[in-house]
Each structure stands twice: as structure tokens, then as C-alpha cells.
């Protein structure tokens, strides 16, 4: 154990990477699933041990190949990324048992092992982006996760999945290229790629190179915003989520955009914020304006969707708006609200998309018009959907309420009464689109199309119920979510100039 302990940061990335190779070589879907399950269950242990270590004794710095930073690549784990690592690996571990039947149902035998291989590569990339302290290394991991995501989406059951994957590939690559151009400008100005080192050298460089640094800030912000689907750069998201295999959608909606949000926070607060007074620049104001637009426009579009997956996809765009809204406030309550909503939204959206996957597994459709009365046929599935749906609205007693409470506090601290009102108003729109599904599911007579439906097997039901229970649990006990989020927010704001 003591030999493994100091190498946890690299194990977090290496284990899924080699797991992906093994799963790919296994060829048979059963063996590939077993490997994937073991790897997915190891990840939270690894992340949890690091989170515990960070909370007990401060940031971990791991030097790859023993090359000291800033020359070598440094993996740096502090409260913020230990928190995100824990989220990504836990989601992967909890929803993995759901995958076996869902993937067997939706994907041909010959492609299943590759599906698991791509999932593990995607996990490698997401964990890598989160753990690395090197700006260029983050780009490489970002592309590992993105490329495998395109394949995961293209494996969807509909031919439109191919088109969605292609559109995402174009948009995602533009985003990554803009990001790497921004990193290039930072490298030209500071001569370093280590995030801590860039932050230290950027301040002295500001006097002579302010224009290049502002350009770098713009490149990085827009590039990462494309990856995290900040309104209006979200065009790739609804189709990608609607046509990807159900299980992949649940995983991606809970983790992929969240990791991009982490990267944005890291650049804004730990790099640019340390070196320059970005409160003097309009970045935060633009983020707040776009977030408010996302909350309203995307929620309104969600109300008019006829396909359950697409409705939840648009709802994701709106919910990402809440997270970036908190980031744009640049104060303790707001940032805590944004960070805690990363976790809360991930748990609810994973539960909702798993419920959609379970419905598809039983009735082969997710069109709302054919799902009347589904609640009476699949009561446990729809009960979990209902709980997570109330979480999206932000009902007191669910974790969504905690996020919105902190966001409202952040807005009040700024003296922005209108924004508090807007947060409540947009929640009411969420109530409309969630309520529409609930009315359809519980109050109508079951239609002929779904008369044979019943709840899915236990391996699918258990992850769903666990996530829904977490939505309630983290609405009552916030020590592990809001507590750690506010520690991370304090760290980030304490470093600001």
C-alpha cells in the first residue's frame, strides 16, 4: 500500500488508459465489461484517497518521471480538482452496472468491446484534464476525451447519431484549437506551460504584453466555452445527447461538460486571476449575461420538445448556465453555488438520462407522445425520474435547491436583485417542462404502445435509485458537496489579485 500511495495521481490516469487497451483487445463484450467494471470501481478509491489526503495535508504535487516542474509535467491535485476527480470517477462507478444490459440492447455484439474501450479512453481524458497542472497536457487529454466521445456518439442507434458526432467533431475541434492557440500565446509571453508557473510569470509580463495576454484570455475562454456548451456555443449538444447510446448520454451529460467547466475555472481563477485583475475586464459580465440567456432560452426550447432526450439535453444547456452564472459572480457564495451545482447537476442529470435509457430499454421509444401513463407501468423508474426532475426545478429538500440558494446569495451579495428574480423565474420554466413529463407519466391512462412495459432489471434499477437518492441526500446534508465546494471557492478567491 505504501508503495502505491505516492503514485496515486498517475494511477488515476494510467489505470483507465491500460484498461481501455485491455477492453479493446478482449473483443468479447462480457470480458470487456468485466475489465471496465473493475477499472470504474477502482477510480473512486483512487480519487477518494487523494481527496482525503488533500483535505488533511494540502495540495499534492506529482512530478512525472521525476522531472521537477516547470520543466517536467506536474500533476497537481488541490481541493478543486480532487472534488471534480471524485465526481467524475464516482459517476462512472455508479452508473457502470447499468451499462451491460443497456449496451447489449442498443449496440451490436461486434461493437460492444469497442464501446467499453472508448468509454475508458474518454474517462482517461476527463480525469487527465482534471488532474494535470500543465496547460498543454490538458489539451492532449481534452482531445483524448473528445475523440473518444465522438466515437461513443456515433455508435448511437440512429443514423442521425453519425451526423451529430460529425457536427460535434467540427465544433469540438474548433474549441480545442482555439484553446491551444490561447495556450500558445501564454507560452510566448511567459515561456512556460506549467499552470502555477504561468500564473507567477504572467503578472510581471502584463506591463509589456497586455494585448497578447488579453488575446490569450479570449482564446482560452471561447475555446473552453465551446467544449462546455456555454450558450450560444451549445449547438452541438442537443443532437449529440439525443442520438448517442442512452448510457453514453448519461455518462457524458454528467461528466464531459463538467470537466470543461473545471478547466475554465482553473484558467480564470488560478492563472489569469492570479496575475491580472480580470474584474477590470468584461469577462465576468459577459459570462453572467450568456448564462442568464442560457437559463431562459434553453429552458424555453426544452418546453417545446417532443423527444424526452432532447428535452433533457436542452435542460442541460440551461443548467450549465446556472453553473457559469455562479462563476461569473466572482464572489464566495456565487462560486460555491456554481461548483456545488457541478456535482448536483451531474447526479440529477445522470439519474434522468438513466431513466430515459431504462424507458428506451423497455418500450423502444422516448417520444413523449407515446409515453402516456408510463409511470403506472414503470413506477420505480419514473419515481426516480420525478425526484431528479424536482432537483432540476430546485425544490427545497433536493440538491438543486442548495445550488440555487447559494447562487441567490451570491447575487444578493452583488446587490443584483433582478438576477435573484431571474433565477426563480427560470426555475418556474423548468417546472413547466418537468411538470409536463410528470403529468403525462402519472396522470394519463397507459397507451397501447407501452402496455407490456415494466421496471427494468435490478442492475439497471439500482444505479438509477442510488442517484435519485443522492439528489435528496445532498439536499439535506451538504457537508460533502457545498462544504468542499466552498473550501475550493475560498482557495480560488484567496489567490485572486
Amino acid at each position: 500500500m505504501s508503495a502505491v500511495w505516492p503514485h496515486l495521481p498517475i494511477l488515476q490516469v494510467i489505470i483507465p488508459l491500460f484498461g481501455a487497451l485491455l477492453a479493446g483487445f478482449a473483443r468479447r463484450s462480457g470480458a470487456a465489461f468485466a475489465i471496465t467494471l473493475v477499472v470504474s470501481w477502482l477510480m473512486p478509491l483512487c480519487a477518494g484517497a487523494m481527496l482525503w489526503q488533500v483535505l488533511a495535508s494540502g495540495p499534492i504535487s506529482y512530478h512525472l518521471g521525476s522531472w521537477p516542474p516547470p520543466w517536467g509535467i506536474e500533476y497537481r491535485v488541490d481541493v478543486l480538482n480532487a472534488f471534480v476527480l471524485m465526481l467524475v470517477s464516482t459517476i462512472g462507478a455508479v452508473i457502470m452496472p447499468f451499462a451491460r444490459r443497456s449496451v447489449a440492447f442498443e449496440i451490436e455484439e461486434g461493437q460492444r468491446a469497442w464501446f467499453y474501450c472508448m468509454y475508458l479512453l474518454c474517462l482517461t481524458g476527463l480525469l487527465g484534464v482534471t488532474i494535470t497542472g500543465d496547460a498543454f497536457n490538458a489539451f492532449v487529454f481534452l482531445e483524448i476525451s473528445s475523440l473518444s466521445t465522438y466515437v461513443l456518439i456515433a455508435l448511437g442507434r440512429d443514423r442521425r447519431a453519425l451526423l451529430a458526432a460529425f457536427q460535434y467533431l467540427i465544433m469540438g475541434t474548433i474549441g480545442a484549437t482555439l484553446y491551444v492557440a490561447g495556450v500558445g500565446l501564454l507560452y510566448l509571453v511567459t515561456g512556460s506551460l506549467n499552470m502555477v508557473d504561468i500564473a507567477a510569470r504572467l503578472g510581471p509580463a502584463w506591463a509589456d504584453n497586455s494585448r497578447a495576454i488579453i488575446a490569450a484570455l479570449a482564446f482560452v475562454t471561447v475555446g473552453v466555452s465551446l467544449k462546455l456548451a456555454l450558450f450560444p456555443l451549445h449547438a452541438w449538444l442537443p443532437n449529440a445527447y439525443a442520438y448517442a447510446p442512452s448510457w453514453a448520454t448519461a455518462f457524458l451529460s454528467a461528466t464531459a461538460t463538467k470537466v470543461a467547466i473545471y478547466l475554465l475555472v482553473r484558467f480564470l481563477f488560478s492563472i489569469f486571476g492570479v496575475a491580472i485583475d480580470f474584474r477590470a475586464l468584461p469577462v465576468a459580465a459577459i459570462v453572467v449575461a450568456l448564462s442568464l440567456a442560457a437559463m431562459f432560452v434553453a429552458s424555453l426550447i426544452a418546453v417545446f420538445q417532443s423527444n424526452l432526450s432532447r428535452m433533457l439535453a436542452y435542460s442541460s444547456v440551461a443548467q450549465i448556465g446556472y453553473i457559469t452564472l455562479g462563476i461569473g459572480f466572482v464572489n464566495l457564495a456565487g462560486l460555491t453555488g456554481g461548483l456545488v451545482h457541478i456535482v448536483n447537476h451531474a447526479l440529477m442529470k445522470a439519474a434522468l438520462f438513466l431513466a430515459v435509457g431504462a424507458i428506451f430499454f423497455r418500450v423502444r421509444t422516448v417520444r413523449l407522445s407515446e409515453l402516456a401513463g408510463i409511470g403506472r407501468k414503470m413506477p420505480i423508474t419514473m419515481a426516480a425520474f420525478t425526484v431528479a426532475g424536482f432537483g432540476l426545478v430546485g425544490t427545497p429538500g433536493t440538491s438543486g435547491f442548495i445550488s440555487k440558494w447559494y447562487l441567490a446569495l451570491g447575487a444578493l451579495e452583488k446587490g443584483w436583485w433582478v438576477v435573484v428574480f431571474l433565477i426563480v423565474a427560470s426555475s418556474l420554466i423548468a417546472l413547466v417542462y418537468v411538470g409536463r413529463v410528470l403529468e403525462l407519466a402519472w396522470l394519463r391512462e397507459p397507451s397501447d404502445a407501452i402496455k407490456d412495459a415494466n421496471d427494468p432489471p435490478l442492475s439497471m434499477l439500482l444505479p438509477l435509485v442510488l442517484l435519485a437518492a443522492a439528489t435528496i441526500y445532498f439536499g439535506l446534508d451538504t457537508e460533502w458537496t457545498a462544504g468542499i465546494a466552498s473550501m475550493a471557492a475560498k482557495d480560488l478567491l484567496g489567490g485572486l489579485r
Partner: protein, 121 residues
């Protein structure tokens, strides 16, 4: 006049920006998916140039330590861009593979025709 002189003095950046805009323009305007990917590649290539060009120090030699030389070029941008090229090639390969599959599924690779066929069904 002064602006022109600055631009000529930094002609490598001018080329970078030119390539970047051409690439982005092709991606946005063209409906043909292969052409879109070509545009995307040009867009990525412009960033390679952004990294590589400043790595060359005029009068500098290859970075092999020798008492006869004092000025060296920076090798790190080349290494970074080798990685970025690999990423770019992988993206292009995956993009083309998707185009092949789209062509099999729809019988066309023109975006507007694909949208039309989806609307029909």
C-alpha cells in the same frame, strides 16, 4: 504606414491569422463535409505555425550544447507541435471515417441534402 511596417515585421503572424481565418471560413461556409474537414485542418495548421515560428532564434543553432555556440533555437515548440499534429491527424482520420459512414447511411455528404433526407423520414 507604421501599421504596415509592424505587419511586415511580424509577417509570420500575419500568415498565421490569414490561414486561421481561411480555415474557419471554409468550415462555416462549405456544405460538403470533406471540404469542411479540409478547412478544419487548415485552421489547426495555422496554430502549428503560431507555435513553431517564434521557436526559431535568428542566428541560433540546433540546441546541442557546444562551447562554440552561445545562441540556440528553442526545441520545445517543435515537440509540442509534433503532439498537436498527431492529435490533428487523429481528428482528421476520425472525421473522414464518419464521413464514409454518413455517405453509406445517407448516400450523400452535402449537409443540406442530408437535412432534407432527415426531414422526409
Amino acid at each position: 504606414m507604421e501599421t504596415l511596417a509592424t505587419a511586415l515585421g511580424h509577417y509570420n503572424y500575419v500568415i498565421t491569422i490569414f490561414l486561421m481565418m481561411i480555415g474557419l471560413y471554409i468550415v462555416v461556409v462549405r456544405g460538403n463535409m470533406v471540404k469542411k474537414l479540409v478547412g478544419l485542418s487548415i485552421f489547426q495548421t495555422s496554430v502549428y505555425l503560431l507555435y513553431i515560428a517564434p521557436g526559431k532564434i535568428i542566428g541560433g543553432t540546433a540546441p546541442i550544447i557546444d562551447p562554440a555556440f552561445k545562441v540556440y533555437s528553442n526545441p520545445l515548440p517543435h515537440v509540442l507541435i509534433l503532439t498537436a499534429i498527431v492529435v490533428g491527424v487523429a481528428t482528421l482520420a476520425l472525421g473522414l471515417a464518419l464521413v464514409v459512414r454518413i455517405n453509406e447511411a445517407y448516400g450523400t455528404i452535402e449537409e443540406d441534402e442530408i437535412f432534407e433526407r432527415d426531414r422526409e423520414t
